[in-house]
Subunit: 416 residues, 2 copies
């Protein structure tokens, strides 16, 4: 196995050199070809997926897991649309992001280039095979994919189709490689390829991410949990605060950018919290509050320290009344996960300070935390949300799969 | 020891929150204070340094090592000047690098913020204590420094002075911490602090860097060797090629950005190489060439595969004649270290293609490889040269010690 994985690494490195030089039209063409091929191969994809679903049913997997595995018409057309959208994004490669002139006349700039070889280790959803590969190709990289064992046949079929499209477009098929085994050892072997894989991106549950972070010899772009906060300031449009809190908590509570803790300034607590609590209760959100919250909201359970740290991913919300914004920021710094925080305020100075002082991957003023998403923020697509700060912090789009080199244009400059 | 290092990590994290909010004037003030303090403490620094030098002499260290250890008037005034220069650099924190508007009116941008806590593990030169701390402070970070044991007393004294200046300026002294032990175990403990140190930067020989890369649980910004190339194209001003090659090889041969391999287009080999070789020989550069080079240059030894991979850091140069630029780029891709490569050419298309296709941290046209340096490229200062692509590639200045978060300004936007 180790030899085979090493071989994949070498092939990926070779392919990455060619991909780095591929021009924009060629990359666009291959993504369009891939979209067409998924349509044409509809039946073979469905057949491969049926095998996975039947295996899952035999193994007694729960309905939620099987749902995630399933490639129905809707999932397939989303993959196809995703490819088309990525194909239309501007090509980031070759962009000169800045250029300046030195006193000796040397013109120095930074030019965007691909990262090189990207490894992606992911769990059940087979659409990741297509979505991730598309972004990697657009940014001129090669990618090695290792999917979850439950979706093995689906992933393998999808990767095969992508490889065929690369070949037809005159690009190296090894720019997309899929680890054709469910052997766990293969993951460890892949994580040891520091000379051939420039960055590893795990996508899945916390356990998978910790495993990858612990064992990878190359850098890892990781996404831990989202303990997101909304702070309702003293100077506030209560109706705006109400709709933002409702959207942040309940529009899709199982996502990493849903609100988990609500912080309310003490001067508006009485006018805001009882009505808000009533509305939450109506839609089935359970509240856990600090002492002062419980004095205002009947039937609210007491929040423990664990609640302040909790990522519920469910219809549960921790609520705390704070004396001022400083205390809200201290709470966020102590208990938060640097994912997404919002302030609702009409006050310019506090909006400005909240934006400046809260160090999370997305900080919002007067908008729902649910916007922390590559599509919503306008990146065109997303390969995950990084909650660590190096290289990328927040949603990672095509640009985050690139880096910059320095360039210098001279007419004979020497160092004195 | 482990407890003590853990304690340092926690204090650094606390300090980093305050540093992130420090305004530009405060950061400038503290750097100026540090410069003054180094002048005032001239005698105590000299005394501490004398202890290190005496220990080194007793231990029988070579002259070169002792020279590197020594803080004489010149070294001290360079540290002081460095602090003043960094203090005058623009503050990168808070800069909004881009901003755009979404169809729903949400204004989305990226704002520059500090990385957080930076660890620096370095070898003999005590100036790193001051230079590295200055850059980290300017970028709003906290830093944990671990210097080489030979410079222990010097480093400890310098760090003490920096901490005192922080305190006097009303900033947390723990923004600069120095590991006050020469115990090797402390390095391993430091490399395990992934929850408290956001990035580790090793500065020193290849052995140190590999040790850090292997054992660090947090991301590492590393600088491996520089196998730098100059390619002399067919369409070329021979006099410019001559002076660039001379400067790249011999201006300071022991540096990572010195030329190690010269590639020459076959059509100019005869007019260029014999005279160039003569000049190299005159200043003591030993040549090792391919067969075709040896046919043109008498007394030139045969280059082996090892020579093409070699970072000599000495007055030795490998020389190869190539049939075209494509072969030069293939050679660079195969044997190079992605550090610095230059083309000397009068041809626009080839200059353009070389810049685009060579994926090294600095690619130059018609200038010496010796310009790969933060000061020379105009970054104002430098904490090292990254040869890995994630986060930073090439010289790392203040900006490379920051990251960006997303910000979003709304007027009640909800996700539908």
């Amino acid at each position: 196995m180790q030899d085979k994985i090493l071989e994949m690494g070498k092939k990926a490195r070779e392919a990455s050199h060619l991909m780095a030089m591929a021009n924009s039209n060629r990359k666009r063409e291959v993504l369009e070809r891939m979209a067409s091929a998924l349509e044409l191969e509809h039946d073979s994809i469905e057949a491969a997926n049926r095998r996975d679903v039947e295996d899952a049913e035999r193994a007694g997997l729960g309905k939620a897991k099987i749902d995630r595995l399933m490639i129905n018409e809707k999932v397939l057309s989303e993959m196809i649309d995703g490819l088309k959208e990525v194909s239309m994004l501007p090509d980031p490669i070759g962009e000169v992001t800045r250029m300046w002139t030195r006193p000796n006349g040397l013109r120095v700039g930074k030019m965007r280039i691909p990262l090189g070889v990207i490894g992606i280790i992911y769990e059940s959803r087979p659409n990741v095979t297509v979505d991730a590969a598309a972004l990697c190709i657009k940014a001129g990289n090669a990618v090695i994919l290792r999917g979850g064992s439950e979706a093995f046949h689906s992933n393998s079929r999808l990767a095969g189709i992508l490889r065929e499209s690369l070949k037809q477009a005159g690009l190296p098929e090894d720019a997309v490689q899929f680890v054709e085994t469910t052997d766990r050892q293969a993951v460890l072997d892949l994580l040891g390829l520091e000379d051939y894989v420039d960055v590893m991106i795990p996508r899945g549950g916390e356990e998978l991410i910790r495993f990858v972070a612990k064992n990878a010899r190359m850098p890892v772009l990781k996404h831990y949990k989202g303990v997101c906060h909304v702070y309702v300031d003293s100077d506030v449009d209560l109706e705006m605060a109400r709709s933002i809190c409702l959207n942040a908590k309940a529009q899709r509570p199982a996502t990493c950018n849903a609100m988990e803790t609500l912080l309310v300034h003490e001067t508006v607590a009485e006018s805001f919290l009882p009505a808000m609590a009533e509305e939450f209760r109506r839609i089935g959100v359970e509240l856990r509050g600090c002492e002062r919250t419980r004095a205002l909201v009947s039937g609210c359970e007491a929040a423990t320290d664990e609640d302040w740290y909790a990522e519920y991913l469910d219809l549960i919300l921790a609520v705390r009344i704070v004396p001022d914004m400083e205390e809200a920021i201290r709470h966020i710094t102590k208990y938060g996960s640097q994912h997404t925080e919002a302030i609702v305020t009409a006050n310019f100075e506090r909006a400005h300070r909240f934006i400046r002082e809260v160090q999370s991957s997305l900080v919002l003023v007067n908008a729902s935390t649910r916007f922390n998403d590559g599509f919503q923020l306008g990146l065109g697509a997303e390969i995950g949300i990084s909650t660590s700060r190096l290289h990328a912090f927040g949603p990672m789009g095509v640009e985050e799969l690139t880096t910059t080199k320095f360039i210098a244009l001279g007419d004979g400059q020497l160092r004195g």
